[in-house]
Amino acid sequence: MNILGNVVEHYVLLSALIFTIGSIGFLVRRNVLVQLMSIELMLNAVNLALVAFNRRHVGDMNGQVFSFFIIAVAAAEAAVGLAIVLSFYRLKQSVFSDDADQLRL
């Protein structure tokens, strides 16, 4: 036995669950900070799936290299996103995405 955590299916299942939780959080919550955190959750779930699939390919590091680049892009995205949140708060005194309605007719 002892199969728990030793097959790729368990990791992909966990990754799918975390990705779903993140996407629901992004759709349902309206606090921009929580929405950004949900995006980070989704990126982390994708990383987990990539590294889990890479475990099946011994001697090949493509999945982990991909994951490395996703981490770099996520860091850049968090920095720019939080800067936009700060700028938005300065403009509207609010952190809720409902108040970002300048483009609305």
Binding site: G22, R30, A75
Partner: protein
């Protein structure tokens, strides 16, 4: 059940609980702590998957930089960082609930399709890997040979992101410096130019 199974169970439960905490938290600082729990759990899973380098990177970049950045912004906004959700018209609430339900239904259906599929291919256990798999040498080798162009592009992306973040986030009010005196020469010397003027008060007219 051996140590590896228990480690996987602990890390996956931590990651799931952290994710649910992040999404449900009324207070964003609790959400950030949930995100931290998820990140540490996923770093543990990376260790279980023989990706030691990525586990370290995950802890350094996510737990050390991204979560700290989130906490900084939440503390900067203070009590205005949003406690709970604002009241809105019922249409928006219904639409948001529907979109969340649709996403959950999609995920459940796809999971059920995967889990209920009938096939005689048993889940394949991970094979044995040497200590080379996931080490800094192996990942770095790939990174600096086959992935050198994306690597350099990622450095450019990070620099652009940092400059852009500063440009977007800095406040316009502090950019303007105080009014400067009209004469550049006077600003430069900041005193009488000739010994003959040493006793006279500076008016700014003599330059």
């Amino acid at each position: 059940m051996n140590v590896g199974n228990v480690f996987f169970a602990l890390c996956s439960v931590a990651a799931l609980v952290g994710a649910i905490c992040t999404v449900l938290a009324k207070n964003p600082i609790r959400g950030a702590m949930g995100l931290l729990l998820t990140i540490v759990g996923i770093a543990g899973l990376f260790l279980k998957l023989n990706a030691q380098f990525l586990a370290a990177i995950q802890l350094i970049v996510y737990a050390g930089a991204v979560v700290v950045l989130f906490v900084f912004v939440i503390m900067l906004l203070g009590p205005d960082a949003g406690h709970g959700e604002p009241k809105t018209e019922p249409t928006g609430r219904v639409l948001r609930g529907l979109s969340g339900l649709l996403m959950a239904a999609l995920a459940l259906v796809s999971l059920a399709l995967v889990l209920l599929q009938t096939g005689d291919d048993k889940p394949q256990r991970f094979g044995h890997v040497g200590p080379q798999h996931g080490s800094v040498e192996a990942v770095g080798q790939q990174l600096f040979t086959k992935a050198i162009v994306p690597f350099e592009l990622a450095t450019a992306l990070l620099i652009v992101a940092v400059v852009g973040a500063i440009a977007v986030a800095r406040s316009r009010h502090q950019v303007r410096t105080k009014k400067q005196s009209p004469s550049a020469t006077r600003r430069f010397f900041h005193g009488p130019l000739h010994p003959r003027d040493a006793g006279r008060p500076l008016t700014g007219e003599e330059l």
